[in-house]
C-alpha cells in the first residue's frame, strides 16, 4: 500500500496563536487586576505590605546598631547586630576551643562540598561513596583532633553548625539505604523479613523522637555492661538514623507501590531476577516518583536535629540559646533567632531547589 502524503493533498489553513500580552502594564492587568475579587485581593496585599515592611526595615537596618562593646549600648529599639558580631562565632561553633575554630569551619566546608558534589548526577557511583567515606573520616579527624598535632577536643564541645550538619547529613546518608532495605523488606514475600520490617517501622514511628533520644542518652548506658560506654553524640546519631529510616522507608514504600505490575513482569520476562530488577527497574522509578516527599522529610529531619538540645548537645540552635545567657548581652532573642533562621533557611532552600531540578530531570522521559 502506497503512503498518501496528506499534507500535499489537503493543505491545511495556517493559523498562528495570538501573541500573549507583553509589557509591565499588560502584565499588571492580566495578573493582578483581571477581575474585581482579584483587584480587591491585590489592594489588600499591598496594604499589608505597606504596614509591615517599613517597620521591619527600620528595625533591621535604619535603627540597627552594628558596633557596641556590650548589650547595654543597644537601646535604640533597632536590631543589635553588634550581638551577632560578638557572638556569631560562638553560635556557629559553640564551646569548641576558640583558637581551633578553623577546624569546625573546615569540617563545614567539607560537608558542603560533599553535598554539592553529590548533586552532580554524573558523579553518582563508586567514586562518590569513596569520597563520602574519606570525607567523613577527615571531618571526624578535624573535629576530634589528637592526630597531626591537633589537640584533642572531646565530642561534648562539638557545638553549633558542625554538630547540626554532622547529625543531619550523616543521619540522612545512613538512614537512606537502611530505609530502602526496610521498604523492600516490608514488601518481601518472606513472612519473617516482613514482620521484622513492619515491627521496626511501626515501633519507631509510633514513638516521639524525643523519647528515642532520651532512651539513647539515658537508658542505653544503664543497659550496657559496666565499664562499656558509647559516646553520647554517637548514641544521638544512631537514634536519629533509626528514626529517620522508619519515616523514609514508608515514603519509599509509597513509591514502590506506585510502580505498575507490568514493569515487574517485563523485568521478570527478561530474566533479570529480583536484585537486578529492583536495582535497575523498580528503585530508579520509585525513588524518582517520591522525590518531593523525600526532600520534605530531609528538610524536616534537618531541622529536627535541634531536638538534641534536650540531651544537652549544643547544635546550632542550642549554641544560639547558650549565647543568649551571657550577662553582658541579654535579651537579644530576635537577633539570635534571625541569625540561625537565615542559616537554616539557606540550607533548606538549597535542598528544595535541588529537588525541583532533580524532579525535572527524572521526569524528562515521561513527558509526552
Amino acid at each position: 500500500m502506497a503512503d498518501i502524503d496528506v499534507t500535499q493533498e489537503l493543505p491545511l489553513p495556517v493559523e498562528r496563536p495570538r501573541p500573549a500580552a507583553s509589557g509591565p502594564i499588560d502584565w499588571l492587568r492580566t495578573n493582578l487586576f483581571n477581575s474585581i475579587p482579584n483587584t480587591i485581593l491585590t489592594l489588600i496585599a499591598l496594604y499589608l505590605l505597606a504596614v509591615t515592611i517599613p517597620p521591619v526595615i527600620r528595625w533591621a537596618l535604619v535603627d540597627a546598631i552594628w558596633h557596641a562593646d556590650s548589650g547595654r549600648a543597644c537601646h535604640t529599639g533597632g536590631a543589635c547586630w553588634a550581638f551577632i558580631a560578638e557572638k556569631g562565632r560562638f553560635i556557629l561553633f559553640g564551646r569548641f576551643p576558640y583558637e581551633e575554630h578553623w577546624r569546625p569551619l573546615f569540617a563545614v566546608v567539607i560537608f558542603v562540598a560533599m553535598v554539592l558534589a553529590s548533586c552532580n548526577r554524573r558523579l553518582w557511583g563508586r567514586w562518590l561513596a569513596i569520597l563520602w567515606l574519606t570525607g567523613l573520616i577527615v571531618v571526624g579527624g578535624l573535629m576530634r583532633g589528637g592526630i597531626l598535632g591537633m589537640s584533642y577536643v572531646e565530642p561534648e564541645l562539638w557545638n553549633g553548625l558542625p554538630l547540626t550538619l554532622i547529625l543531619s547529613v550523616v543521619g540522612m546518608v545512613f538512614a537512606f539505604p537502611l530505609a530502602i532495605v526496610l521498604a523492600l523488606g516490608r514488601r518481601s514475600r518472606l513472612p519473617a523479613v516482613r514482620a521484622i520490617c513492619v515491627g521496626y517501622i511501626e515501633l519507631i514511628r509510633g514513638v516521639p523522637s524525643i523519647t528515642l533520644l532520651f532512651m539513647a542518652s539515658v537508658m542505653l548506658p544503664l543497659l550496657l555492661p559496666t565499664g562499656m560506654t558509647i559516646d553520647k553524640l554517637l548514641r544521638a546519631q544512631v537514634a536519629i538514623i533509626m528514626f529517620a529510616a522508619a519515616f523514609l522507608a514508608e515514603i519509599i514504600r509509597g513509591g514502590l507501590q506506585a510502580i505498575p505490575r507490568g514493569q515487574f513482569e517485563a523485568a521478570d520476562s527478561l530474566g533479570l531476577g529480583y536484585w537486578r530488577r529492583t536495582r535497575l527497574i523498580v528503585l530508579p522509578q520509585a525513588l524518582a516518583m517520591v522525590i518531593p516527599p523525600l526532600v520534605n522529610n530531609f528538610i524536616s529531619s534537618f531541622k529536627n536535629t535541634s531536638l538534641v538540645s534536650i540531651i544537652s548537645l549544643f547544635d546550632l540552635l542550642g549554641a544560639a540559646n547558650a549565647a543568649l545567657t551571657d550577662a553582658n548581652w541579654q535579651g537579644f532573642y530576635m537577633e539570635a533567632y534571625v541569625f540561625t533562621a537565615v542559616i537554616y533557611f539557606t540550607f533548606c532552600f538549597f535542598m528544595s531547589r535541588y529537588s525541583q531540578m532533580l524532579e525535572r530531570e527524572f521526569n524528562r522521559g515521561r513527558r509526552r
Binding site: A266, A267, S269, L270, G271, L272, G273, Q285, R364
Partner: protein
C-alpha cells in the same frame, strides 16, 4: 500481507504442557491443558475474553504459577526452583499488551539492559545488536528517545526488539495489538509476520484472524479454561468441529 511459506515444522517439542491446571482462588482458570509446540512452530491462541489464553502463555515463563501438571520449556521443567525459572526466562521472550517498556530508560537502554546484565555482553556489542533489531522493526532513528515520546505502535515494536535482543528461542505474544489504535496495528503485525517467516517459534494470543491465517501452523481455540479445538488454520477456519468454535468465529469474523 503475503503468504508465509515456511515448511511445517518437524522435530522436538520445545514447549510441553501436560495436564496443567490452575486456579485463581476458587476460580478454575486452566482445566487440564495439554499443548505441544515444536521448534519453529507458530501457534495462534484465540478465544473469548476470560477463557484463560493469557494465563496459559503467562504460565510458560512463570509469570503465573500453575498448580497441577507439568510444564517443560526448552528441556527444563518449570518448578519453584528460581534457577530454572531464570534459565527459561532467558530463552523465552515476551511481548505484552501494554508494551511495558521501562519509561526511565531510553529506547536503546531498554534494549541493551538485559543483554548487558543477564547475558553479560559488553556494552558495545549489546548496542550493536540493539541497533540491528531497531533497524529490523523499522525505527532505528528512535534509539535515543524515551518510550513516552513514541506512538503506541512504535512502543510495541521497541518491545518486540527488546525481547529479540536476548536472542530467545521462543517468543510469546500476549494480545500485542489490543491496546493499539487501528492505524498502528498493521505496522506491528508486519514485524511479527516477518519474524514468523524467519522461523521463530511463536505463541501468539490474538484476535487478529488475518494474521492468524497468514502465519499460523496451528490454531488453538480456548473457552472457559479448556482447549476446545486445535488444528491447521485451513481446517480451523473452514470446518471447525466444535459448536463453540463456530460461534466464536462467527462473532469475530462477522464484520
Amino acid at each position: 500481507m503475503t503468504d508465509a511459506t515456511a515448511a511445517t515444522p518437524v522435530g522436538e517439542p520445545i514447549i510441553e504442557l501436560r495436564h496443567v491446571d490452575k486456579w485463581f482462588g476458587e476460580f478454575h482458570v486452566l482445566r487440564d491443558i495439554n499443548l505441544e509446540v515444536k521448534k519453529g512452530e507458530r501457534v495462534v491462541v484465540c478465544g473469548p475474553s476470560g477463557s484463560g489464553k493469557s494465563t496459559m502463555i503467562r504460565c510458560v515463563n512463570r509469570l503465573e504459577e500453575h498448580q497441577r501438571g507439568q510444564i517443560i520449556v526448552a528441556g527444563i521443567e518449570l518448578t519453584s526452583d528460581v534457577k530454572n525459572i531464570e534459565a527459561i526466562r532467558r530463552e523465552v521472550g515476551m511481548v505484552f499488551q501494554q508494551f511495558n517498556l521501562f519509561p526511565h530508560l531510553t529506547v536503546l537502554q531498554n534494549l541493551t539492559l538485559a543483554p548487558i546484565w543477564v547475558r553479560k555482553l559488553p556494552r558495545k556489542e549489546a548496542e550493536e545488536t540493539a541497533r540491528l533489531y531497531l533497524e529490523r522493526v523499522r525505527i532505528p532513528e528512535q534509539a535515543d528517545k524515551y518510550p513516552g515520546q513514541l506512538s503506541g505502535g512504535q512502543q510495541q515494536r521497541v518491545a518486540i526488539a527488546r525481547s529479540l535482543c536476548m536472542k530467545p528461542e521462543i517468543m510469546l505474544f500476549d494480545e500485542p495489538t489490543s491496546a493499539l489504535d487501528p492505524e498502528m496495528i498493521k505496522e506491528v503485525l508486519d514485524v511479527m509476520v516477518e519474524l514468523a517467516r524467519e522461523g521463530m517459534t511463536m505463541v501468539c494470543v490474538t484476535h487478529e484472524m488475518g494474521f492468524a491465517r497468514t502465519v499460523a501452523d496451528t490454531m488453538v481455540f480456548m473457552d472457559r479454561g479448556e482447549i476446545v479445538e486445535r488444528g491447521p488454520p485451513a481446517r480451523f477456519f473452514a470446518n471447525p468441529e466444535s459448536d463453540r468454535t463456530k460461534l466464536f468465529l462467527s462473532q469475530i469474523l462477522s464484520h
